[in-house]
Amino acid sequence: MKIKTSGGEERIKFDMTPMIDVCFQLIIFFMVSMKLFTPEGDFNIKMPLAAPSPSDQIDDTSPPIPIRLRANDQGRLSKYQIGERPAKMFPPALTEEKCRALFIRDLRAQIRSVVGGAGGPGSVAANTEVELDCDTNLHFQYVIDAITAVSGYLDDRGRIVQLIEKIKFAPPPK
């Protein structure tokens, strides 16, 4: 077969309008459907089953450190206590941000005084377990704050220093 080639040069003009229309439609679609994404992270919690198997029990583990979180009627943190140490109160006059910042700083300082330095394999922090005993109406934010304070801190370079990894909830009152 022979392919016909036209000898004369012809300038073909085509209408770009529909293509540009479609492109703008696409842009508008993506702009509308775009959602600003904030990074999220997870905290592991250790929830033992009702009947733990004997193989899970390790003899040399010390009993967990109980952290009691008490809430006021609005669900805000009113006081907390680590083990038998003196309880720390949070008056309702404090703003929520201030209360949270104080709580995290105080709890972290206390935990660091209990476990000493950083965590890691074989350290005191790695073998320590924490049990959170929370009031049922306490806002979930305070639980995350408690886990944040207990599980580690950021050093001066912004790296995470791991403290206690084993965190569990106390069984709720019947």
């Binding site: 770009m16 905290f43 049922t136 109406n137 995350i144 909830f169 709720p172």
Partner: protein, 154 residues
């Protein structure tokens, strides 16, 4: 009054469209790349608690089961809202699906709880208990990354 100088002869002005089309394509590609496909797992009703230690995980969870909880304690699971008491039936279905289709056990699955910052903790614990009754063992509590708070003088 000013007079407008009207050009009587109609001139056809042709301008080069190429830069505009280039820009447009660049924009289309930018939005395509930044589009977040995981929106199905994030409800607008849930405002996660913030934590300075929450960092995106380095490796993805093997079998994630995402349970979202609103501030009133309602659970959002697989696109349906339900009170925590009714969670057992769909969770059992999920467990059976894991054990039959994927040939894995229920203990391999991780329950990720995306609870609102104002959800009562008792209800989160209740949901965890229900999951334990069904057989799930691994749990993760999700939080939103917060910027590092200012260091206060100690």
């Amino acid at each position: 009054m000013m007079k407008f100088n009207q050009n009587a002869t109609a001139k056809k002005v042709e301008f080069d469209m190429t830069p505009m089309i280039d820009c447009t394509f660049q924009l289309v590609i930018f939005f395509l790349l930044t589009l977040n496909f995981s929106t199905a797992e994030q409800s607008e009703l849930v405002h996660l608690p913030k934590s300075e230690l929450a960092k995106p995980p380095e490796k993805a969870v093997e079998i994630p089961i995402v349970l979202q909880m609103t501030s009133s304690g309602t659970v959002l699971f697989n696109g349906d809202f339900m009170p925590p008491e009714e969670l057992q039936t769909p969770l059992r279905r999920e467990r059976d699906a894991i054990e039959t289709k994927r040939n894995q056990t229920v203990t391999d699955a991780t329950v990720i709880i995306r609870a609102d910052k104002d959800t009562p903790t008792g209800q989160v614990q209740e949901v965890i208990q229900i999951c334990q009754k069904v057989g799930f063992e691994k749990f993760k509590l999700r939080a939103e990354s917060a910027l590092r708070e200012k260091k206060e003088p100690s």
